[in-house]
């Protein structure tokens, strides 16, 4: 089972960033798995949708999250905020039927990154607040890239190291 789950919030540039994190972790002998949220194509969470039934695959994703020892999020910025696929995914995990769902996140370290045309800062601030709320320990240093500023692989490596450190402590 994968130690680190890398969550991609777009399946173009941010999946590319997620793959770079995976590469970096592999070179440090740390197992990881990329979760491509766009391709998951989950229905929109609403209380009405929940009454109709929790999608079967949520149980599988919940297992992946439960087994993770750390997380990396790479997300684009949507209108100064977090993309709907990310909040929708967290919403479904929290309504997966497990009342102790917070245990899936509590105390685990999380690193944040963004490839975004608009810079990504506001999306990362918003995401950081939400991830802290659900119990993750977010790492201060974050990775950002835009169409003008290429992804800095040294940043990716350094943040990977911080995350690995966070998993040990």
């Amino acid at each position: 089972m994968s130690k680190i789950v890398i969550i991609a919030g777009s399946n173009n540039k941010n999946l590319e960033v997620a793959n770079e994190f995976k590469k970096s972790l592999t070179s440090k002998d740390v197992e990881s798995e990329v979760l491509d949220l766009v391709s998951l194509n989950l229905p929109l969470y609403t209380p009405a949708a929940e009454v109709e039934g929790i999608p079967l695959e949520i149980a599988e994703y919940k297992k992946i999250i439960d087994n993770a020892q750390g997380f990396i999020f790479s997300i684009p910025e949507y209108n100064g905020g977090v993309p709907p696929v990310v909040t929708n995914f967290i919403a479904w995990i929290s309504r997966s039927g497990d009342l102790n769902w917070r245990e899936s996140f509590n105390g685990k370290p999380a690193a944040l990154s963004s490839f975004s045309g608009s810079g990504g800062i506001q999306a990362l601030v918003a995401l950081r607040t939400q991830l802290s709320y659900i119990g993750l320990n977010t790492i201060g240093r974050q990775v950002r890239a835009t169409y003008k500023e290429d992804l800095n692989l040294d940043d990716v490596n350094a943040v990977s190291d911080l995350l690995i450190q966070g998993m040990k402590s």
Partner: protein, 271 residues
């Protein structure tokens, strides 16, 4: 006027009977539009460049959408993908689709929720029946070289079956100037089994050696996809990565001009 055209028709049909090799002369039927045959030239495929992934789509897929290119019978997708070292597709789900992967260069690491974790390399064929649903990821297994592989989707015969996964290695020697069956509905001749009455064969052929492909089932259509070389299929000259679908013939001649490699996908036409 009417009479003349009738006579013309008669003469031509007589000629055609007497000399089968003579064509209908004059007006050429535009082959790409013929009901019995579809030609998809290499350059006409949809292209996607994501940096880490370069993909050519014979049929509509993801951001490439062409209503005239929605597949060939139950054959829905032929993606010709090149993935950069260590990069790949994160965990994502599928359902009710037969997914066949054929590496052409390099190797691919596959991981799924049935607990399978395998590397597939050139010479191997992997098939996955998604059925009621499964999740998997696919990564380039090398950190140095890119991987090129075909991913083919075939619509299933039965819906909502139990997901299944299989992978087999095939000896390249056994396909030289003969058809090597790699995918079938029942796993015959050591092939990989899928949930559809489809038959995939690989063949590599030397120049000027004529081969005849005979269909397994009269109701199927056959789609030829050129992996390498230059050859005639029927009377159609094909080049690397061209695709040709033939509906109405049970036996189809193949004649290579250079050393060639061909993937033959025989599939039911009724979806």
């Amino acid at each position: 006027m009417k009479r003349r055209s009738f006579l013309r028709k008669l003469t031509f049909s007589l000629l055609a009977t007497t000399f089968p090799s003579l064509s209908w002369g004059g007006k050429k039927v535009k082959k790409e539009q013929s009901m019995n045959m579809v030609l998809h030239k290499n350059k006409s495929r949809g292209v996607a460049d994501h940096g880490w992934l370069k993909s050519h789509h014979t049929f509509s897929f993801a951001s490439y959408y062409n209503p005239d290119r929605m597949g060939f019978g139950t054959l829905r997708v032929i993606n010709d993908d090149v993935v950069e070292p260590s990069m790949g597709f994160g965990t994502h789900p599928h359902n009710n689709m037969e997914i066949i992967s054929i590496p052409l260069k390099g190797s691919l690491k596959h991981k799924d929720t049935m607990g399978n974790e395998h590397v597939i390399a050139k010479g191997e064929v992997q098939a996955m029946s998604a059925g009621t649903g499964l999740q998997h990821s696919e990564y380039n297994n090398s950190s140095k070289e890119s991987v090129n592989f075909l991913q083919i989707w075939v619509k299933p015969k039965k819906q909502n079956i139990k997901p299944n996964y299989s992978q087999k290695k095939f000896d390249e020697k056994d396909r030289l100037d003969q058809f090597q069956l790699v995918v079938s509905p029942d796993g015959q001749k050591g092939s990989v089994e899928i949930n559809q009455d489809a038959f995939f064969s690989l063949v590599s052929t030397n120049p000027n050696k004529e081969l005849v492909y005979s269909k397994y089932s009269k109701d199927n259509g056959v789609y030829f996809f050129v992996l390498d070389g230059e050859l005639d299929v029927g009377s159609e000259p094909l080049f690397k990565r061209d695709g040709l679908g033939i509906v109405n013939k049970d036996e189809i001649k193949i004649l290579a001009k250079t050393y060639s490699e061909l993937l033959i996908m025989e599939v039911p036409l009724e979806v």
